[in-house]
Point group: C3
Chain length 425, copies 3
């Protein structure tokens, strides 16, 4: 319940924040002004799109409406990743403020860097004599392993670490108490929906990248997305079976999601077998990161948002540096910052014998997203925490946020909520 | 369970009714005959479409199949609105009869009036020297705030009022007893699905309006739909918090739906900020209407179908009269009943300085839909009520319809149903 | 839980199996070699598609990616049908092995026969002087009543029969004990999702059939799919009411699904009223087959997978032989194996006065799918059964597979699962 309300709220708040400020910070560039590699500065509240919408040619405006809508869905995806990480103990006021902050400023700036044609790290930025500014490649992040997932995952880590663990999660000596999980039926259904949804996000990303709506790229992306998720799920099944001799349905779902996150950045430039490798490794990366987060760092992230989106997202960003196929890079990005020299410059994965510049670009993306999101969202949550407005009281938490906070005015009674979502004590 | 079965049943019954009669009443016009502004009269059971389907050019027929399918989905949406309003106390026979009646006659006539090129209120009717018949504008109802939602909402009011409140809903002195609500988890999931579904209905509506598949209109519609729903949800969250200091997840969902209903008529002709206003006002209109329905009119509408679809739908219909932007009206409707004189005739919202004729057209739509649906469905439910076939017996109701009525033959046992859907006693 | 995990697993395993082998068996034909009517033999692991993907023209490759993805979704649909039939008593290892076997070999061979341009039974095979090889028509199976549903349904029968009934399903004298069913809420929601999903499968099938993306065919398919499902649901409602005077929501859902299965093969070549007949008859066929399976054959198929997909699927395959309309056949298939002589050769349903060759082709499809799938999957399950690896122990089954087998490592506790999915004892 807690998470569900937050999910639906951040879609509402994010729509307004992204409309008022975010889209302008991400893509706006006032005609006649110099490009700004750091941040966009124009078309707030779609003011320009609205004006131009009825222009005779309508090219700019049409793209404007469509791109806004598509970008908003990505923004909502990034924002909502945090909701599970702070589950059961974050106040609503703090969460609403966070959602507005991320969707109107933190996330759009990352988008500007990596996806806008002005961005300093963008493969679409051809200002350096036809090449991308950074290492003559720019970062390859087709559908947002870094832009979307790492942004959400790092923010989730900040939130979960600063708000502190749920009551009873750790013993005084640091031992981890197990807590009751979520309804497995809901987890499986949610995973199915997400998997299908991913076929909207990943293949759809091609629409954003200029006007090259190449059916072939879209189809290849769909195939890689399917294989990545499948490999992640299957790997996790086997891995858990080897370790515990039990079939773990929730783990399989997490494995599928890890596989999907892992192929999100590279799905346009890798071969199908590489997608299988990416997904399988992604699932194992998730296992390791999840263990480290909980048992070593002692951070209580109830839905494993940081390991899943943050760490596996970083693996996904690095992937094209290892396994991007030259022909595919040329097909998907050749007309942008890579110039016509994808092959000459060996601008593809080092495992194909490519130059390290692609891998280095990807590594830079991992670093800057970690630093930018970690700093801003960390400071934000820290201030809210110090102001005493981040966390509900222990009494409320123990009683279960659902019982205390959710009155249904309409029915005049408090919901008892779904017991499977309560924190055990 | 009760509602779910009715939802799935009216999709079945409505498909057959709309196929046999409804589509012909809505859009049929026999070649060579005069236009009939009141009702269509041709192509029953798709007889003409079927014949022409293999014609060499295939233009009519192709459009015919596609339009039928799309219109059927709108018809099913309108029909199903009633299912919640008569929940837990309506017999299945009466509900099946209602679903057939609405989908084969009542709803198609409204469609004919407002959306068919022959309809007397339609903006697509250019029979008056190139202008629409009514006030030279016709009513602007892009995706059916009036045609779909008001039709369903008014029918829901008739049903709920005539069938009477659930046992125990009101004290003998008229005081309102609170009754246990629905599972909040299901409400939230349903809202998410509906929100996504709306992106099918609203943008898809452009396909129906002639052959102008303008990507720009579709994109603007999608943006306005997102912002309308977000603003409705956020407004409701704040409003409930101010009044009760509690976060009410079901109310947020209703607010989102109210925002969506509110922008449905105008989504093609308003600016994004107007969509935010429409959604926010829609949420507040819903609160007021909900209070009046239950506490003043003493009508027991368990899912607030009338306030949500009927009253907010009326607000949505009026909206283009206030806030339709001239340029957008010309873009979306200029080639139809508005002639080329959208600007000259000031045929846009009065808040932009437009002439009142648009607002007046919208007001006429509200009145005639209310009168037509209220009269026919009211008489229908009244007759069934007097015949004693509308309501289950008190014993059955108290025991819960689910327990009494739903035997699962296959498993040979009666379902105990989902306890969260039972009426408390 | 059991079924859900299997559903998500077979999507994972099937993706890999179909990628490695299945797609090559189904459609691969090495350039320069003779056609093989029995099985494809090329492009394993998409090796050729991958190579050619960046070719200048890209025609083959683009189609390759897209077709693979689409075909994979059909393969996953066929594979998953079995999961319910062996519910609550099959080991995971056996199920994973089955899913790999079906998706990498058994199913692709059927696809090759009926859908590939080389297949011996395919209407797309024009090697016989411009005609299809079999009876100059080939089998009409537009979206897979036979290829997908019968394959899955026959496999389900093999699995359910060989694994044996659940403990307590039958008395020692053979009387049938009723067992607690599934959550009706989940059944209804699943049916809704499937119904919508079908609009992806059936209309989408036109994309596979060569490059004739005729909007008219797609639209007609959508209309027939809607009416078939509606008629099936409504027929079942009336039938159950007449027999038991109770409204049976699960039966209505099964009726809808039966209607959908019944129109899947013929949806491109029948008229809307024929879709209604097909759906209504399909629902009754399902009732009969369900009774015979359980009470006469004494096979415990907990979700009625065989009656629904196997028997109603066979009815669906036969349908075009009875009710295919000549003009529609020419429109959808005329340029393939039917030559230009659809009308001259009376190659349409015998109820339109057509020649029996179409019906005979359909009948051949029913026979060969039954024989092929029954033999291979039957032998497979029999071997696994004899090896003692097919069924969980009685103790585990009684305790409920969900409790024994699904440990959630992450949370360190065993799930208690959803009680509504447990087998009663």
């Amino acid at each position: 319940m807690n998470i569900l309300l937050k999910n639906i709220l951040d879609a509402c708040v994010g729509a307004i924040g992204f409309y008022l400020f975010g889209y302008a910070f991400a893509y706006g560039r006032k005609p006649g002004t110099d490009a700004n590699g750091f941040i966009g500065n124009w078309n707030f509240a779609l003011s320009y799109t609205t004006e131009q919408s009825f222009a005779a040619d309508g090219n700019f405006a049409g793209a404007g409406w469509q791109q806004f809508f598509f970008q908003w869905s990505f923004c909502a995806a990034a924002t909502t990743i945090v909701s599970g990480a702070v589950a059961e103990r974050c106040t609503f006021g703090a969460y609403v403020a966070y959602a507005f902050f991320l969707s109107s400023f933190v996330y759009p700036v990352v988008v500007h860097w990596v996806w806008a044609s002005d961005g300093w790290l963008s493969a679409f930025n051809t200002s350096d004599g036809g090449y991308a500014k950074i290492l003559k490649t720019g970062a390859i992040d087709f559908a947002g392993s870094g832009v979307v997932h790492m942004t959400g995952g790092i923010a989730a880590l900040c939130g979960a670490a600063i708000i502190g663990p749920r009551v009873g999660r750790f013993e005084s000596n640091g031992a981890v108490n197990e807590m009751k999980g979520h309804s497995a039926v809901l987890v499986v259904m949610g995973t199915f929906l997400l998997w299908f949804g991913w076929f909207g996000f990943n293949p759809g990303s091609n629409l954003v990248i200029g006007s090259r709506v190449a059916a072939e790229i879209v189809s290849r992306v769909a195939v890689c997305t399917a294989l990545g998720g499948g490999a992640g799920g299957f790997t996790m099944l086997v891995w858990k079976w080897l370790r515990t001799r039990a079939w773990d349905v929730v783990a399989v779902c997490n494995g599928i999601l890890a596989g999907l996150v892992a192929v999100t950045a590279g799905c346009a430039v890798i071969e199908p077998w590489a997608a299988i490798i990416a997904g399988a490794v992604g699932a194992l990366v998730f296992c390791g990161a999840d263990y480290l987060t909980l048992h070593v760092a002692k951070v209580d992230d109830p839905v494993s948002a940081f390991p899943l989106h943050g760490v596996v997202g970083a693996w996904g960003v690095l992937l094209p540096g290892l396994l991007a196929k030259g022909d595919y890079v040329e097909q998907a990005y050749g007309s942008y910052g890579f110039g016509s020299t994808v092959d000459e410059g060996h601008r593809y994965g080092i495992l194909y014998g490519g130059h390290a510049q692609v891998l280095l670009s990807q590594f830079i993306e991992v670093l800057v997203i970690t630093a930018w999101v970690g700093a801003l969202v960390g400071v934000f949550f820290f201030i809210v925490h110090k102001a005493g407005m981040l966390r509900v009281s222990t009494e409320e938490e123990l009683a279960g946020l659902d019982v205390i906070n959710y009155a249904s005015i309409k029915n005049g009674k408090q919901y008892k909520g779904d017991s499977s979502n309560h924190s055990g004590s």
